[in-house]
């Protein structure tokens, strides 16, 4: 496995150029800049809002300095609330080539697109000339989420991904699972797996917070398709989702933007702190992927029963299909057919090894299905967090 070495010591499994809009008003220009480079790893991300938000700034900072990102072009309208100078400074300090184009100061849409494409073309040439270095499994950060879950997710794909997590953790990788709002009912099981009682208490507090948050919103994280697929309650969905975490000890509880300091299994708390505001915590699966990436995830395992087709900007998504019928319908979109466990054609350990091997192949450059199909979904909205507590991270000597 080879990686692209960054100044902070982390290594990327891709050398992507990010074109980032700093307000929805600049998104079209950013998208058009990237459209000039099909198939050349130029991805669009951005923050849509005009009001400043510390979480939004921190997320954009983490994403623009993600190890898979080699260079960044910021596209600003000019009058938005986002602190573009601050973000430019963060990116420059990371040693990455970067440029900021302000549409209002660059002659408008066409002229900004032209300048942006010229900058990206140069950056692409420079990045393509870089020589990757050796990268080990213990330098990998891997996230996992489930989307479009059904009654098969918790039986096939999620426990198989959990086994893959256990294998990767044994080899020193950092693995992150979430979403605390979809782990309601599993809090005591998780606390029992925490490496310290204090961390266990923090985990229980995080799940209590998510239950209170969703109670205020009126609904749990449960979509109609979950019920069509045989899931009846949020705690049933949670037990299935929980199987993604495997059997390793939980070494830490992190929040979006916290980077795991060691290998091992981490739980990501995605539920905002403080009073309920800004709406539902994560309005769709890609909002969760954005937060896993902000924690440094090089790639994400995504289990689906009903059949999600999404991918992501920046970090490849490996799709593990839980339901054998869905796999037959959507096989072009799926990387792994774990539904064959249900049909007696494979067991959990076999699929776990297959997922682990695929993680290493994708880290070594193999494209995932969603990556090859051009899926580059991205979304980021408003939130607010307090820093994690002192018991949440493992001690680093």
């Amino acid at each position: 496995m080879k990686g692209y070495l960054r100044d902070d010591g982390r290594k990327g499994i891709r050398n992507t150029i990010v074109v980032a809009y700093l307000i929805e008003c600049a998104r079209h220009v950013a998208t058009e800049v990237a459209a000039g480079f099909p198939g050349q790893d130029v991805h669009v991300i951005g923050f849509p809002g005009c009001f400043p938000n510390e979480y939004g700034f921190d997320m954009m900072s983490r994403l623009c300095t993600h190890p898979n990102v080699g260079a960044v072009l910021l596209v600003s309208l000019g009058c938005e609330g986002f602190n573009r100078g601050g973000l430019g400074h963060v990116i420059a300090a990371s040693g990455r080539p970067n440029e900021t184009l302000v549409i209002q100061e660059n002659g408008g849409t066409l002229s900004t697109i032209e300048k942006g494409r010229a900058w990206v073309e140069n950056a692409r040439t420079d990045l393509d000339a870089e020589t990757p270095v050796e990268m080990a499994i213990n330098e990998l950060v891997i996230g996992t989420i489930c989307g479009g879950s059904d009654g098969t997710s918790g039986i096939t794909a999620n426990p198989a991904m959990g086994r893959a997590f256990d294998l990767l953790i044994q080899e020193g990788a950092a693995c992150i699972f979430e979403e605390t709002g979809e782990l309601i009912g599993c809090e005591q099981y998780m606390a029992d797996r925490a490496v310290t009682p204090e961390l266990g208490s923090e985990i229980i507090r995080a799940v209590d917070k998510s239950r209170e948050y969703y109670e205020t919103m009126g609904y749990g994280s449960f979509a109609p398709g979950n019920a069509d697929g045989g899931l009846t309650t949020i705690e049933e969905k949670s037990m299935g989702a929980y199987a993604k975490s495997g059997a390793s000890p939980i070494v830490g509880l992190i929040k979006p933007g916290d980077i795991p300091p060691t290998g091992g299994l981490y739980l990501l708390d995605v539920i905002p702190d403080g009073e309920v505001r800004y709406g539902f915590p994560n309005i769709n699966d890609n909002a969760e992927i954005a937060e896993l990436m902000a924690c440094g995830a090089h790639l994400n395992l995504f289990s689906t029963g009903r059949g999600s087709v999404v991918g992501s900007a920046i970090s490849p998504v490996i799709k593990v299909c839980a339901n054998p019928d869905t796999y037959r319908r959507l096989s072009d979109d799926m990387d792994v057919d774990s539904g064959r466990i249900l049909e007696g054609r494979a067991d959990l350990d076999e699929v776990g090894i297959e997922v682990r091997d695929l993680v290493l192949a994708v880290a070594a450059g193999q494209k995932t299905r969603s990556e090859a199909l051009g899926h580059r979904e991205f979304i980021l909205t408003y939130k607010s967090f307090e820093p994690i507590g002192p018991s949440c991270l493992p001690n680093v000597a």
């Binding site: 059904d150 009654g151 098969t152 918790g154 039986i155 309601i184 009912g185 599993c186 099981y189 239950r211 969703y214 109670e215 009126g218 609904y219 749990g220 449960f222 979509a223 109609p224 979950n226 019920a227 069509d228 697929g229 045989g230 009846t232 309650t233 949020i234 705690e235 049933e236 037990m239 299935g240 199987a243 029963g305 339901n323 054998p324 019928d325 249900l342 049909e343």
Partner: protein, 105 residues
């Protein structure tokens, strides 16, 4: 395949569970075998859905993976479909777009 002879397989996820999960769609007029007992299925129940392994009384916890996943709202007979029409969450309401009796059936 003669549907009348079709016996749908199920998965038991925990030894003390009072529900099992279908491994494939049940067919109307077919049957389901749970713990060696055969139950007639009079409707299509998709794979991944739950069936009662034994009679479950109203108010009893539903156990899957050895963990409680909600409570029965009515008495549920062994072999019956266990879903939003007869189970509720002990935590948060489940959002569905259709009347409960139509969900997944």
């Amino acid at each position: 395949m003669a549907s009348a002879e079709r016996v749908t397989g199920v998965v038991l996820l925990g030894p003390d569970d009072n529900v099992v999960v279908t491994r494939e769609d049940t067919v109307a007029g077919g049957s389901v075998e749970i713990d060696g007992k055969t139950y007639a299925s009079d409707s299509v129940i998709p794979l991944g859905h739950k069936l009662a392994r034994r009679d479950i009384a109203a108010g009893e916890k539903i156990l899957k993976y050895g963990a409680p996943i909600g409570s029965a709202t009515v008495d549920i007979a062994a072999g019956s479909h266990v879903h939003v029409q007869n189970v509720k969450s002990d935590y948060l309401h489940s959002h569905t777009t259709r009347p409960d009796e139509e969900v997944g059936v």
